[in-house]
């Protein structure tokens, strides 16, 4: 029974730590998550492959436990999907807890059936004959505990050493000098203008259009800001653009003639430019209204 209850208790305890209400940091949540998944993985293996004698050697058992634990999360997410439950902490934790409970019940049933049919937990260890049921061999529990410790060490030592070496190497890669990447200077419609989706209707007083200019990785330069209407430059100004800066510009666009025609307005900074289209908000005269095309 303890082979079922022990992982079940570990799973419940670890899952309770994971609840978002606790608002714990990841260094606490991660070990708790791994512990919960390992406990559920243990239950999976216990339920599916039965007693350790039937689940093969330690690496096979340990590997199956880790894999089952790892696959528990997507399995729960997929099982919750048909019920419209999203992939979120609380449903996942509840789902894993429910799954652990079901596995625990299934494990107990399996033990019960095994006892009824003459196989089961009595034969938990490989090679233990039935006639030893009256009492374990002296020193066996101790050697088993030592063996388990050594196996855990055989798994953890290379993992810890690899983590150590890997972490140092990652830091060396990330903190080492890297060649400079190509810089850029961009111009974009900003604020409400970033949402321009149709030709803009400009009132007689004109309209102020916000524009954003970003420079990164380039030397300080002097760039020409130009405002074009239908390709013709109607205003320009020289600006100093510094690297790592974002400039918010406001460009006043004059009202186009009230002829109903759509005109292209371009705002350029250096070689980069934005283009949008405007038409006059003023009432069109009879001549303009009568025109089929501009």
């Amino acid at each position: 029974m303890k082979t079922i209850f022990r992982p079940l208790v570990v799973a419940y305890a670890s899952l309770s730590v994971l609840l978002p209400a606790a608002a714990l940091p990841w260094p606490v949540l991660l070990p708790a998550c791994l512990s919960a998944l390992l406990a559920v993985g243990t239950l999976w293996v216990r339920v599916l492959t039965g007693s350790p004698a039937e689940s093969g050697v330690r690496p096979a058992r340990a590997g199956l436990v880790v894999l089952a634990g790892l696959l528990t999360l997507p399995a729960v997410a997929l099982l919750l999907h048909p019920f419209g439950v999203p992939v979120a902490p609380v449903p996942l934790i509840a789902g894993v807890a429910l799954l652990a409970t079901l596995l625990g019940v299934a494990g107990l049933l399996r033990i019960h059936r095994g006892r009824r049919d003459g196989w089961g937990e009595r034969y938990d260890e490989p090679g233990v004959p039935a006639q030893r049921l009256a009492g374990a061999a002296p020193g066996r529990a101790e050697s088993r505990a030592q063996g388990s410790v050594r196996t855990v060490a055989a798994v953890l030592v290379p993992v810890v050493l690899s983590l150590l070496v890997g972490t140092l190497a990652v830091r060396a890669v990330e903190r080492g000098p890297h060649p400079a990447l190509p810089g850029y200077l961009t111009v974009a419609l900003d604020g409400w203008a970033a949402g321009i989706a149709h030709p803009l209707t400009v009132p007689a007083r004109g309209v102020s259009v916000p524009v954003r200019v970003t420079s990164s990785g380039l030397p300080v330069s002097s760039q020409l800001l130009r405002l074009r209407v239908d390709g013709a430059v109607i205003a320009s100004r020289r600006e100093t653009v510094r690297p790592g800066m974002v400039y918010g510009l406001t460009v006043r666009v004059p009202a186009p003639p009230p002829d109903g025609c759509v005109r292209a307005v371009g705002v350029s900074v250096g070689a980069a430019s934005t283009v949008f289209y405007v038409r006059s908000a003023a009432r069109q005269g009879p001549r303009a209204r009568g025109r089929g095309a501009c």
């Binding site: 004698a53 096979a60 850029y184 970033a194 209407v229």
Partner: protein, 663 residues
């Protein structure tokens, strides 16, 4: 009592030599040796990457020196006769962890490979929305296989890690599990600990082990589950009691379901492998009657797995067939054409930057593998009367799986089949590794009995020869299986999946996300689409034969754009067009602008001219909202499609201001 306890337990069991004290000393020696060589090897890999990044020569030499510095001592400790079972397990776990480093160090901070962007974006989308089975715009079928994404997103949601950190945790665990799993699988057939270790080392020589099956991709998780599903299947086949058989069979089918929900090809490979086992056990059972139950078990597992895969592909992922078909179908057509004397083949290592010795190793590797398979077949035949029936039949199945490596190698000569051929090696090498491992151990043991020379010398010479062969396979397979731009960093290159993430594209993706929101449909080239579809959280399309979005770019200035295409774009609510003007200046590094079947010239000349890409500036139905040195973003305004372009007409200058504020 379970029958499993009545036979030698498969796997990493080892004979116990020496007293506990000497075993501890041996363990400490091994730990110190492998830590020092591992650290030195890692340092050499870091140097290799740094040299590549700065454009200095020698990265290939440094890389392989670093790899061999650790792998050869690790192989020695793993295959050594006197290594204890736990020490062997520790060495193999360390080996799995070390072989994860080349990919990790390649780009530790985020996705880098083409598929990684898609899988990262898919996982991120699940974390944000909580919804599975959402369509992915970079790799269209991955939404139907959410196993990996659900795992990563759920891990991130529960622990508070980022998607990338959670992915690293899942993938490194899967990689170590894969490494150990190959050993356990080999141990299911031959419970000799040295054979299990040799199988692990041999499997790690395949071209996908270091870079492909360590990336954030669905195969990385699925192939690990496949190996363990085969372990469980062999457990079921071997079991002699009903409860054990039922338990192992249930494990196999649950793992098959997990694999099917994770990766289509791996699920198909698993079904095929189980079917092969069923066939082989059935044929053997004609002569050996005790194999009847194992054969029935194998058929039951094959049927169950096939049913799971068929139901998933039929109901959940019906588009998978049309996604996979062009790769295999066209490859076979092209291969048929080559056999008929057509001139449509690939020139291997054309314009490659690989050093001559890597290229030579790549050509020699299949030959060495063939020799090893011939030796394995001879050994299998010689042991046909002495091997236990299940072991003999299981080895036959593995031989057949391993033999698939060779026809797949021929497919690499075809443009369409090259990718599929490379991807198949991770599966066929499983069979190859399991059947060749006994040959390795037999060779090492055989030299001990040679009368002509001292025992130690013979063993050392054989060991050195085997190590050299392994090194050649490792170098050659990776050279053949992975593009140098995937293996090594370098300056940004236009048209390279791994070097497409320039600051400009990333800034554009960030700007679009910040100002326009997420989940927007847009038309883009392959490389901008990678960044916009992942970091940008948008839905880019690069076009296809039925939705030729690339015709927008192809249209000559002043010529009309297909009304059908415009209607499609409007009906499907596409909002933006992204134009990378480098398409008119450079040829992509991997010779693809949009997708593999694009109707564009690929003769070393840019497929577009500048006028084709700047014509959008004067189209009133396209509003240019963003522009940079290379990249421009336009908003579609389909309502303005009928507005004519007005010729330049000077407007009387009016009062206007340009106010500047700095953020």
């Amino acid at each position: 009592m379970s029958a499993v306890t009545t036979r030698p337990v498969p796997g990493f069991t080892g004979s116990r030599f020496g007293d506990p004290r000497s075993r501890r000393v041996e363990a400490v020696r091994c730990a110190v040796t492998l830590t020092v060589t591992g650290a030195a090897g890692t340092a050499a890999i870091v140097i290799a990457y740094r040299r590549a990044e700065w454009g200095q020569p020698g990265q290939f030499g440094w890389f392989w020196a670093g790899m061999l510095l650790f792998t050869l001592p690790a192989a020695y400790w793993a295959v050594r006769r006197h290594t204890s079972s736990r020490l062997r397990l520790a060495v193999l776990i360390g080996y799995g962890a070390f072989t994860y480093l080349p990919k990790l160090l390649r780009h530790p901070s985020g996705p880098l490979y083409h598929d990684e962007y898609a899988h990262w974006g898919q996982s991120h989308s699940i974390l944000v929305d909580g919804r599975l089975f959402e369509a992915n715009s970079i790799v269209r079928v991955i939404g139907d296989f959410p196993g990996l994404h659900a795992c990563v997103a759920a891990m991130a949601a529960i622990t508070g890690l980022s998607i990338w950190q959670a992915a690293l945790l899942v993938l490194s665990t899967a990689h170590i599990l894969l490494t150990v799993g190959v050993g356990v699988l080999a141990g299911q057939l031959r419970p000799d600990p040295r054979i299990t270790a040799a199988a692990v080392i041999l499997y790690s020589l395949n071209s996908s082990f270091l870079f492909f099956d360590t990336q954030l991709g669905y195969e990385s998780l699925a192939i690990c589950a496949l190996v363990w599903a085969l372990v469980a299947a062999l457990g079921a086949i071997r079991a002699t009691t009903v409860p054990a058989r039922v338990g192992w069979s249930a494990s196999t089918l649950l793992l098959a379901a997990a694999i099917t929900a994770t990766h289509h090809l791996t699920a198909l490979w698993l079904t095929g492998a189980l079917g092969l086992f069923a066939l082989v056990f059935t044929i053997h059972s004609v002569v050996v009657l005790e194999l009847t139950t194992p054969a029935r078990t194998a058929w039951a597992l094959t049927s169950g797995t096939a049913l799971i895969v068929a139901v998933w592909l039929g109901l959940v992922a019906p588009h998978t067939g049309s996604y996979l078909d062009p790769y295999l179908g066209r490859a076979l057509d092209q291969f048929g054409g080559l056999a008929g004397g057509d001139d449509g083949g690939r020139e291997l290592f054309s314009k490659s930057v690989l050093p001559w010795w890597e290229q030579t190793s790549a050509y020699l590797a299949p030959g060495v593998a063939l020799l090893a398979m011939v030796a394995a077949t001879i050994l299998w035949w010689r042991r046909r009367h002495t091997d236990e029936p299940v072991t003999h039949a299981g080895t036959t199945g593995m031989l057949l799986i391993g033999a698939l490596y060779f026809p797949a190698t021929m497919l690499i000569l075809t443009p369409a089949g090259a990718e599929g051929a490379r991807r198949s090696w991770a599966f066929s090498y499983l069979g190859l590794a399991v059947v060749v491992a006994p040959v390795v151990v037999a060779l090492l043991d055989g030299t001990r009995r040679l009368p002509a020379r001292p025992t130690e010398t013979g063993t050392v010479l054989t060991g050195a020869g085997l190590a050299a062969a392994c090194a050649l396979l490792l170098v050659g397979n990776n050279a053949a299986g992975m593009n140098p731009s995937y293996r090594f960093p370098g300056p940004p290159v236009y048209g390279s999946d791994t070097r497409a993430a320039t600051p400009e594209v990333q800034a554009a993706a960030h700007w679009l996300l910040k100002t326009q929101g997420r989940g927007i449909r847009l038309v883009a080239d392959r490389y901008s689409g990678l960044i916009l579809g992942s970091y940008g959280e948008q839905h880019p399309t690069t076009g296809s034969a039925t939705f030729p979005a690339y015709d927008l770019y192809r249209a000559r200035p002043g010529r009309p754009i297909s009304p059908q295409l415009l209607a499609q774009l409007r009906a499907w609510r596409f909002e933006f067009l992204v134009v990378d003007r480098r398409m008119a200046e450079q040829v992509p590094d991997i010779n693809i602008y949009f997708e593999t079947n694009e109707p564009l010239r690929h003769d070393g000349v840019p497929a577009f001219d500048r006028a084709q890409l700047t014509k959008f500036d004067v189209m009133p139905w396209l509003i240019k909202i963003y522009d940079g040195p290379n990249l421009a973003i336009y908003r579609f305004d389909f309502d303005s499609l009928r507005i004519p372009v007005r010729p330049a007409d000077p407007v009387k200058p009016a009062r206007h201001d340009v106010r500047v504020r700095t953020r």
